[in-house]
Subunit: 383 residues, 2 copies
C-alpha cells in the first residue's frame, strides 16, 4: 500500500462544550490541522463518530461537517463504536493509497455531555450486543465489570493492583492543556472512589467528554523535506464476536492481537522498537488486556507492568497514555481514536514538554470499539 504521512494536526480541549455544536467542534480541529499543515484544502473528509444520531439527532454527519468547513467534495462518516476515530483514519489512508485522492482530512468528533446521563448510558450500550447482551439489562460498564471480575478471579489480582493505570494516566494528563481531567490523583483517591459497577469504580472508568481531533494526511512520497511529518508505518484492523459470551475466553482481546500483528508486519517493526503506546484505557481492565494482546505482557500479567513502574514516561519499558489516555484526557468516544493519533504525532515531533518521551521515534496507538469487537492498531514513526 502507498505510504501515508500526517502533516497537520488539530484538537479541541476535551471538555463540557455545552455552548458549541458538534460541527463547530469538528471545524475547530479541522481548521487547526489545516493551519498546522499550512494548507488550505483537502480532497476529501473522513469523519469518525459514534453517537451524533442518538445524542444530537444528527446523522449525515459527513455532509454536515463538510458544509460547516465550506467543502463540497466527498465526505463520509465511519462508525465502529468507540473505535470510529481510528476507523476513519484507516478509511482516509486507504482512499489516498487507492490513488483516488491525494489528501484527506480525518476528524474524530463526539458531543456527549449535555444529554441526560441515562440517555448517554443507553447510547454507549449500543456498542455492545443489543439482542443478546443489552437485552439482559447489562450496561457497557457492567460488561467490562464482568470481564474485570473474571480476570481478577482467574489470575489472582486485587482491585488495588490496577491503581497504577489510573494514576499514570492522571499524572500525565496534568500536563496536557486539552485534557478533561488535568490533575494527578493519589492511590487513596483511587481506592476510595465511588463504585460504579463492581469492581469498576469511578477511577477505573474514563469520563465522557465533548471534543474533536483531526489529522491531515497525504502520500509520504509527495513530501519534500517536511521535518515535522510523521509516517503511518503500519495499520491493522480486526473484529471479534460482538457478544463477550461468544468468545473462547473473555480475557484475551483477539482482535487487538490480530490487528497489532498486521500493523507490526506492515511496519516491519519489532516490539522493542516501540517507544510509547497510546492504548484504549476506557476501563483499567482494558489497559491490562491491551498490553497483553499487543505482546508487552504475558496473558494475565498486564497489571505487573503498572506495579513495576514499566508504564511511566522516561522510566518504564513501555510508557502508556502519555497525554492522559482515555482515563484522564477523556473519552469523547468517536473522537478518541483520533486523539490517540494526534497525541502520538505530538510525541514524535517532540512537542510534549513535561510528558515528552525522550527520543521517541516510534509510537503505537490502539483504539477499541465495543468490549474488543472492533480494534484498529496504528504504528507511527518519524518520517
Amino acid at each position: 500500500m502507498r505510504k501515508i504521512a500526517i502533516i497537520g494536526i488539530g484538537q479541541t480541549k476535551v471538555h463540557e462544550h455545552w455552548q458549541r455544536s458538534i460541527r463547530d467542534l469538528a471545524g475547530e480541529a479541522i481548521f487547526a490541522a489545516l493551519e498546522d499543515a499550512n494548507r488550505e484544502s483537502v480532497d476529501a473528509i473522513f469523519s469518525g463518530n459514534m453517537l451524533s444520531g442518538l445524542l444530537d439527532q444528527q446523522n449525515n454527519l459527513g455532509a454536515v461537517i463538510a458544509d460547516w468547513v465550506g467543502f463540497k467534495g466527498e465526505s463520509v462518516k465511519i462508525e465502529s463504536a468507540c473505535s470510529s476515530g481510528a476507523s476513519a483514519l484507516r478509511a482516509g489512508m486507504i482512499a489516498i493509497a487507492s490513488g483516488e485522492i491525494d489528501s484527506a482530512m480525518v476528524v474524530g468528533v463526539e458531543k456527549m455531555t449535555d444529554a441526560a446521563p441515562t440517555d448517554v448510558t443507553s447510547a454507549l450500550a449500543t456498542a455492545a450486543d443489543s439482542d443478546w447482551e443489552l437485552e439482559q439489562g447489562v450496561s457497557f460498564v457492567g460488561l467490562n465489570a464482568l470481564i474485570m471480575r473474571r480476570y481478577m478471579h482467574e489470575y489472582g489480582w486485587q482491585h488495588k493492583d490496577f491503581a497504577p493505570f489510573s494514576l499514570n494516566s492522571h499524572a500525565n494528563a496534568a500536563h496536557n492543556p486539552n485534557a478533561r481531567l488535568p490533575f494527578a490523583i493519589s492511590e487513596k483517591q483511587y481506592l476510595n472512589a465511588t463504585m460504579i459497577a463492581a469492581p469498576i469504580n469511578l477511577m477505573d472508568a474514563s469520563p465522557t467528554g465533548d471534543g474533536a481531533a483531526a489529522a491531515l494526511i497525504v502520500p509520504l512520497d509527495s513530501l519534500r523535506g517536511d521535518q515535522r511529518a510523521v509516517e503511518i508505518a503500519g495499520s491493522g484492523a480486526a473484529t471479534d464476536t460482538i457478544s463477550i459470551h461468544s468468545r473462547k475466553t473473555p480475557l484475551f482481546l483477539q482482535a487487538a492481537y490480530l490487528s497489532a500483528q498486521s500493523a507490526y508486519a506492515q511496519a516491519g517493526i519489532s516490539l522493542e522498537e516501540i517507544d510509547f503506546f497510546e492504548l484504549h484505557d476506557a476501563f483499567s481492565i482494558m489497559a491490562a488486556l491491551s498490553l497483553e494482546a499487543c505482546g508487552f505482557a504475558e496473558q494475565g500479567q498486564g497489571p505487573r507492568l503498572g506495579l513495576d513502574n514499566e508504564i511511566k514516561i522516561n522510566h518504564g519499558r513501555i510508557p502508556i497514555c502519555t497525554m492522559g489516555g482515555l482515563k484522564a484526557r477523556g473519552h469523547p468516544v468517536g473522537a478518541t481514536g483520533m486523539y490517540q493519533i494526534v497525541e502520538s504525532v505530538q510525541q514524535l515531533r517532540g512537542e510534549c514538554g513535561e510528558t515528552q518521551v525522550e527520543g521517541a521515534k516510534v509510537g503505537l496507538a490502539q483504539n477499541i470499539g465495543g468490549s474488543g469487537a472492533s480494534i484498529i492498531t496504528h504504528i507511527l514513526k518519524i518520517a
Copy 2:
C-alpha cells in the same frame, strides 16, 4: 484507480421483517452474494446503514455483521443517511483499489418497520439539519414538500404532472418479487392518495422497509472470462449544504451534478450510452431533480420526461426505476443504494424478465442522502 467488478449479488425482499434481526437480514444478502459468486470468503466487509443506532439500539454494526457471518477481519459501517449504501460501495471499491485487500463484501441493510412510526419519522429527520431545520419542527417529508411546492410554482407544473414517476415505479415493481409494493397503480389512485405534507401525497412518497442488498467486488483484472461480471466503470461522490436554505437554489441538486460528472468522466461514457437509470425517487420531486442534474432534462423540465413516456422500459429515452425504484421496491434507507446496484447488475446480466431493458449495456445508479446533501453516482457496465 484500479478497476473493480461485481461478481456476486444478493438481496432480501423489502418487507416488514418483524421476526428477523438486522444482522440476520444482512447475513441473508451476504450469503446469497457469496453463493452467487461461488466464493466462500472475502477480505473485508463494508456495511451501509443509517438507523440501527436509533431504531435497533445497535451501533458497531460492522462488528455485529462480521460476527453473524463468522468473519474476524476488517468490517466497518459507513453512514451518509439515505446514501449510506452507495457510500459503502465506494469504500469497498477504494479499499480494493488501494491494494490493501483483494475482495470485499458490501452490504446495505436497514430495519425500520417494527419501530413506532413517530420514532421512524424522527429518526429519518436526522438526515436533515438538526440545528437549523429540524429545530423549526419540519419533518423530512416536509422539507421535500417545500422543495416540490417551490418547483411547481417556479416552473408551472401541476401535482398531476408528477404522476408518471409513481406509476412507472409501481408498474415495474409488479414484476419484482423483492419489491415492497409489487403492484401497479392507476392515475386515479395517485391523484386521490392520502396527503402527507402538501403537495406530497402517499403516492409521491417511498415506503419504509426492512431489507438488505449485497455485492461481492473484486479487481476487474483478477477475472478470467467471468461472463456475468459487471464492471463499476465510474464512481463519484459530492456533498452540498445540509440545510436547503443555504443553497443558491433549492431546485438544483448540485451534488448530483458534480458526482455524476465525476462518474461520467471516470467511465469515459456519454449520456447517450446510458441504457437505464436507477434513481433515488424517495419523493417524486427527487426523480425530477435527479434527471435534471444528471443531464437528461433541462432544469425545471424533469416531469416532461415522464409525461412523454421517456422513462418507460423499452419505450423511452431513459428507463428509470426498472425494478420499482424507492417508490415501489421500497426504501430501507441505508440499504437502498445497494438495492440500486444489485438491480443494475440484474439488468446488465439480462435477468429481469418482464422488466428487462433489452440489450442493456450501461446503467447509471444515483443514491441521495438528505435532501441532496450527500450524493453518490455509479456507472455500471458489462465487463
